[in-house]
């Protein structure tokens, strides 16, 4: 759009459009019907998607049907890899870990994001941009840096224990090495990461809610909670859907947080499917089984995101 106005004189679109419409009509297509030439415009983008998304996905699907060490000739095993995956009890544990992460990566940040939005949007807050930037900062910093910082925070003499010490709760636990606490500890890093993202989404969403609604509600004597429940929340339905999709998908496919913080340890208490795919493909030379696990994970993510978009649709009147 910006490009158009820059290139063409402002009155140009108006003068071109009717001419184009006339030409279209003269070829005998019904008005409003898309013309074939439109597909030509789609070709460059389509080509990119086919080459860099669709074909690799299909290749992965194909790889999931073979047994392959990554180098020597592969053997076709049909659905063998999938049978192995579905019958492996250890893998089920990894998916359960993912499920636990969904709480920390999605539920917690969205709740916090809503809370912050409710607090910041009710009246003009001084230094709003500053708060927003601070809360969004985790999204900008490199994951490697974040991981190192949190490893320090969670260390035996780290900030987490120092803070707990203030209220007399420091038990000298190295959090990332504890079988019970390592996964929640990773989850909190994830929550800290996505809260800023959710907040920015919600704050921008709140701005498009008609302020007269709040005015009317206040005149009717609504309190803060009622305002939030009946105006803000419904008004943010679309943003919540986007945040939910992003964060849930992020939780399910999580890899970098785990890889950088614990490598799945202690034991396998923080291992997740994304990490397992990496370990199989690049560490153990089980490319076929890694591909099939990737396909399973993709299907799950697909189903979950479709479900989210279904449930978050405006109820039809």
């Amino acid at each position: 759009m910006v490009l158009n106005t820059a290139v063409l004189p402002p009155q140009a679109p108006a003068s071109i459009a009717p001419a184009a419409r006339r030409r279209g009509r003269s070829r005998g297509t019904a008005p409003g019907e898309p013309r074939l030439v439109a597909y030509l415009y789609l070709v460059p983008a389509l080509l990119m998607v086919v080459v860099f998304v669709l074909l690799p996905v299909l290749h992965t699907v194909y790889l999931s049907l073979v047994k392959w060490d990554g180098v020597t000739a592969a053997t076709f095993v049909g659905l063998g890899n999938y049978v192995d995956i579905l019958t492996d009890p250890q893998l089920r544990a990894l998916f359960l870990h993912s499920l636990e992460l969904v709480f920390f990566f999605a539920v917690l940040p969205i709740s916090l994001g809503l809370l912050i939005t409710a607090l910041l949007s009710r009246r003009a807050v001084r230094g709003m941009t500053f708060y927003r930037s601070i809360l969004f900062l985790p999204q900008v910093v490199s994951m490697v840096v974040i991981a190192v910082a949190w490893q320090w925070i969670y260390a035996q003499d780290g900030v987490a224990n120092q803070l707990l010490g203030l209220i007399g709760l420091d038990r000298g636990i190295a959090w990332l090495g504890d079988f019970t606490w390592a996964l929640p500890a990773i989850g909190i890093v994830g929550a800290w990461l996505s809260t800023g993202l959710c907040m920015v989404l919600f704050l921008s969403g709140v701005q498009k809610i008609d302020t007269s609604l709040y005015e009317a509600a206040r005149l009717d004597g609504a309190n803060a909670w009622q305002e939030f429940r009946h105006i803000t929340l419904p008004g943010l339905r679309a943003e919540i859907a986007v945040a939910l999709t992003l964060t849930v998908v992020g939780a399910l496919k999580s890899f970098d947080v785990v890889y950088l913080l614990t490598k799945g340890g202690p034991g396998t208490s923080t291992a997740v499917p994304g990490y397992e795919i990496f370990a199989r493909a690049f560490g153990r030379g089980e490319a076929g089984s890694a591909a099939s696990l990737a396909v399973v994970l993709t299907v799950i993510i697909f189903v979950v995101s479709i479900a989210i978009s279904r449930f978050s649709k405006e109820p039809e009147v």
């Binding site: 592969a74 560490g283 089980e286």
Partner: protein, 458 residues
């Protein structure tokens, strides 16, 4: 969106998917992974070049790739520089990646059409490179240059791999090694003195020392096992001195019928577990970074640190005369000590290279006495112990003494996680679970042996 158009778009989607799948299966033969092995052509006969032959070659470029130390003072950088100074007509183009990235990409790099002439590999990378025929068999060059005489038997066996890459100690030589490293016990004399503990000469003394140190409020053994592999070095050092070293090496090499499960292994696992239960190693070790544990040790916290000689330079310079190194004390005083360790800086030649003879000449140079005499960086220990030197009275000097004694006693046993590609992923978490009391020694043994068998049966 109207009902009509949505149904049509759905039909289109199904059609597109069907077409894509058809296309995919038609392209299967082209996409069949691993179908084109690297060097199927017969190899040119090997010739041992003389220095004059090399000078007569004119301007040549050798391309190598490795996951080593790119710093100019590292042993490899220095030996390459010396080589280039001696043979100015040869240019060495070196592509260095961080080790973790290197090990993940080397298969792709070597199967490419423009694979480098020379590539570093280790026990985890070699099996697949050998099976994929991405490394040239080096038997002829081993004969021509007499390389076999350099290495103790465990090293020599690990430089040979079966054609399918699943067993070491049989088949062709795949690489030639610059030096090695081993794990042992670094100690801090100041901490030992503070607790009134003498340097133990037997394993029983060592156990007694741990108890005394613990009673005196010192940290007996410093360990950070958040990285997962560091704990395995403590365990394997214990194991090498408990179980039969040759049997362990056979198991690591994948010799048919070898087994990890034995009363000695169980005993080593039990001792390892006891060190945690007794508080000789922090029960929080699983949450401490290896880096941080080493830093604490150098800061005077902890009497012993069981780790590899790659830490020598740091510890030796930081602790100075308080620093020392010994092999894990043997069962009987004066008996042989064994150490976990293996080769480092090991290079193979691509079967696609047009400069195999020159590559072999270059490798002979950078893995020979010249490289062994470069000790400044202390990154690993050369195969010519006489060439070694270190400041007197430091941990670095102790390391060299230990290295020489291990080479003489043939006392080096390989890394446990070299036994199969998935071994680290099984052993490391299992040891963490053993430490936390979530697995018994028997469960660890069974899981480890199962991983070994799964790989060999597949």
């Amino acid at each position: 969106m109207s009902l009509h158009s949505s149904r049509r778009s759905r039909t289109a989607l199904v059609l597109a998917a069907a077409a894509a799948i058809a296309l995919g299966s038609a392209g299967c033969s082209a996409l069949t992974p691993g179908a084109a092995p690297g060097g199927t052509a017969t190899l040119a006969p090997a010739t041992k070049l003389s220095a004059d032959d090399v000078t007569a070659l004119g301007d040549v470029t050798l391309r190598m790739t490795d996951g080593g130390d790119a710093a100019p003072e590292s042993r490899l950088s220095q030996s390459i520089a010396k080589f280039e100074a001696e043979f100015p007509n040869v240019t060495v183009e070196r592509d260095v990646k961080a080790f973790a990235d290197y090990s993940k990409t080397i298969n792709l790099v070597m199967s490419g059409d423009d694979a480098p002439d020379i590539a570093e590999a280790d026990g985890a990378m070699a099996p697949r490179l050998v099976a994929g025929k991405l490394l040239r068999p080096l038997n002829d060059y081993f004969d021509a240059y007499g390389w076999a005489a350099r290495y103790p038997s465990s090293i020599l066996s690990s430089l040979k791999a079966s054609p399918d890459g699943k067993a070491y100690g049989t088949g062709d030589f795949w690489g030639v090694s610059t030096g090695g490293e081993l794990t042992g016990v670094f100690y801090n004399k100041a901490v030992l003195d503070r607790a009134g503990v003498d340097l133990p000469a037997t394993f029983d003394d060592f156990q007694a020392a741990l108890a005394t140190l613990h009673d005196k409020g010192e940290i007996p053994i410093q360990l950070g096992n958040l990285d997962q592999w560091s704990g395995s070095h403590v365990f394997s050092t214990l194991l090498d001195n408990t179980a039969d070293p040759q049997g362990l090496q056979d198991w690591i090499n994948g010799k048919p019928g070898a087994t990890f499960t034995s009363p000695e292994t169980k005993q080593a696992l039990t001792t390892f577990k006891d060190w945690f239960s007794q508080g000789y190693i922090s029960e929080q070790a699983n949450g401490i970074l290896d880096e941080d544990a080493v830093a604490s040790f150098m800061d005077g916290q902890g009497a012993f640190l069981i780790t590899g000689t790659w830490r020598t330079a740091d510890i030796s310079t930081t602790l100075g005369e308080n620093g020392g190194f010994m092999l894990l004390p043997p069962k009987e005083e004066g008996g042989p000590s064994y150490a976990t360790g293996s080769y480092q800086g090991t290079f193979g030649i691509s079967p696609k290279t047009k400069n195999a003879d020159l590559a072999a000449f270059f490798l002979d140079y950078i893995t020979g006495p010249v490289a062994a005499s470069i000790n400044e960086a202390g990154d690993f220990l050369g195969w010519y112990p006489d060439e070694n030197s270190a400041p007197a009275g430091t941990a670095a000097e102790d390391v060299q003494t230990a290295w020489a004694s291990v080479l003489e006693n043939n006392g080096l046993v390989g890394w446990l996680d070299s036994a199969s590609p998935a071994m680290g992923d099984t052993l490391f978490p299992a040891l963490q679970e053993l430490m936390a009391g979530q697995q018994t020694p028997e469960q660890v043994m069974d899981a480890v042996q199962k991983t070994w068998e799964d790989y060999r049966q597949a």
